[in-house]
Symmetry: C2
Subunit: 256 residues, 2 copies
DNA sequence: GCGATCAGCGGCACG
DNA sequence: CGTGCCGTTGATCGC
C-alpha cells in the first residue's frame, strides 16, 4: 500500500523550499476556468515550479494537456486514499485544475538555480532593425521615416518614403506571410490613406507567401518583397543588404 | 566524480524502451534552426518523450525555454566529460538543440500508458454550434445559411440572412475581440461585397471587445454583439439562447 | 501534404 | 493596468 501522507508531506516540503517538483503517476484531471475540461485516468507527468507554474504532460506532444501559469496556488491533499493536487489562480479569471492521483510512480524535486535569459537571434525585430539600416535592399531610394510607428489601429513595423515622395508601409514577417499578414498590412494602409492625402503603398516583406495571400495582396494593390535571410553567426543576415556604415567606410577609406 | 557513461546508458536504455525521461542538471543550451539561440549555464529540467518531444524547462514560466516537437531524433553522447544530449528534426526544416550538462542532479524515467484524449468545453466551435441552433439571440429573424463557409480569403464562421434578405457574416470569438478579429471580419465582408450584389453586414460576436477594436468596427460600419456565455455542466451555455428543440417542445407539448 | 484558423494560446513591450 | 502583436508559436481540421 502507498504512503499517501508521506508523499503529501514530501511534496509540501519541496514546495516550501522552492524546489521544482516532478510527480509521475496515474491520474485524472479536471479543469474549470476560461474553459472547462476533463481528462480520464491515464499516466502523466506533473511539474510544479516555484512560481506556481503547473503542467500536466502526457507521453506525447509538446504542449501540456492541462496547465496553470505563474501565480497559481498549489494545494496538496489526501482525498479518499488518493493524492489530490490542486492549482488555483485568480488571473486572468478564477480557475482551477484538480489532478487526482490513484497511483504515484515517483516524485523528484530539485533546487534549480538559474538566472540566465535566452539570447535569441533571427526574430522579426532583428530583421526589422537590419532593414532600417538600408531599405535599399527592398527598393532603391527607399528611405526610412520611423520604426514601430503607432497609429490608431495598430503599429507599423517600418514607415518609409519612396523616390516619388509616397508613403510606404513595410510589414516584416520572419516566416511565410499568410492571409492575416495581408489583412494586417491592409489595415495600416487603409488608415493612412484616410488620414493623409498622399499616396500610400504597402509592402509585405517575408521569406515567402502563400498563393492565396499573394492573390489577395494583388487584388488589394499591395506589394510583396521576398526577404532572403539566413541566421549564421549567430545573428541574422539579410542577403544583399549592406550596412550603411560599411558602405561609407569603403568609400572614405578604400583598401590601401 | 560522475559516471557519465552510466548515465548515458541509462538514458539510452529508457529511450529504447519508450519511457518518458526527466533529466535535471546544470547545462547550457544551443539551438539552431528556424531561429538560433544560446542559453548560458544554469539549472534546468530536460524532458524527453517517446515521440521525440524534447523540452528544456527553467524554474519559472510555463513555456519550455528551448524545445523540439514530435519527430525529433535524440542522441546521447559523452563529450569532454560532459553529458551532451542532442535533438534533431528535419521538419519544418533542419534544426537541432544541444543540451550540454556539466552536472546531472537526477534522472527519472517512467512508462506512461495513456490513450485518453482531453474533452474540452467552451471552445469557439461549441459556441458557434449553439448559435447555429438559434441565431435569434443575436437578432430576431436572423436565419442561418451555412456554418464554416469557405470563401476565397478564408472561412466564415456563420453565414446568415436577416429579415431584409441581406447577407450577414457572423464572426464568433470565445474571448475579447481585438483589432485582428475586426480585420478578419472585414476581410470576409469585403470579399462577399465584391462578389455579390446584395448588401452584406458583418457582426462580431464576442464576450467583450477592446475600445480600439470597437472604434475600428464602427468606422467600418460593422457591428458588435455581446456574447454572454458561461461554462457550467460542463458544456457552454449562451445566455438568452433557447434550443430550437426545447422551444418546439414547449409549444407542442405544453406542461400538462 | 498544404493552408487557414483557433488556442484555457503565452509572453513581451509600450502606452 | 490594458492591448497590440510576435512566437523556433503549437495543434487541429479541412481541402
Amino acid at each position: 500500500m502507498e504512503d499517501i501522507t508521506g508523499k503529501k508531506r514530501q511534496i509540501e516540503k519541496a514546495m516550501d523550499e522552492g524546489q521544482t517538483i516532478v510527480v509521475a503517476g496515474k491520474c485524472e484531471v479536471k479543469y474549470q476556468g476560461r474553459a472547462a475540461s476533463k481528462l480520464s485516468e491515464g499516466d502523466r507527468l506533473l511539474i510544479i515550479k516555484q512560481d506556481g507554474t503547473f503542467l500536466v504532460h502526457q507521453s506525447k506532444k509538446m504542449n501540456a494537456i492541462n496547465y496553470q501559469g505563474p501565480g497559481a496556488k498549489v494545494i496538496v491533499e489526501e482525498n479518499e486514499k488518493k493524492l489530490l493536487i490542486t492549482a488555483q489562480r485568480m488571473k486572468p479569471m478564477k480557475e482551477s485544475i484538480e489532478v487526482n492521483f490513484s497511483e504515484v510512480y515517483g516524485i523528484s524535486a530539485y533546487f534549480l538555480k538559474d538566472d540566465e535569459k535566452l539570447k535569441l537571434f533571427g526574430t522579426e525585430r532583428e530583421l526589422s532593425d537590419l532593414l532600417m539600416q538600408d531599405l535599399g535592399v527592398i527598393e532603391r531610394d527607399l528611405i526610412p521615416l520611423k520604426q514601430e510607428s503607432d497609429i490608431r489601429h495598430g503599429t507599423i513595423d517600418i514607415l518609409a518614403e519612396d523616390s516619388g515622395k509616397n508613403l510606404v508601409i513595410v510589414e516584416v514577417k520572419r516566416r511565410e506571410a499568410s492571409l492575416d499578414s495581408i489583412s494586417q498590412l491592409n489595415r495600416y494602409v487603409n488608415e493612412l490613406r484616410e488620414r493623409r492625402n498622399r499616396k500610400v503603398r504597402g509592402i509585405i516583406c517575408a521569406p515567402s507567401i502563400t498563393e492565396n495571400a499573394l492573390r489577395m495582396l494583388e487584388r488589394l494593390g499591395l506589394e510583396y518583397f521576398k526577404l532572403d535571410y539566413e541566421i549564421a553567426n549567430p545573428s541574422a543576415r539579410i542577403k544583399g543588404l549592406q550596412k550603411k556604415q560599411r558602405t561609407l567606410d569603403s568609400y572614405e577609406k578604400p583598401t590601401s
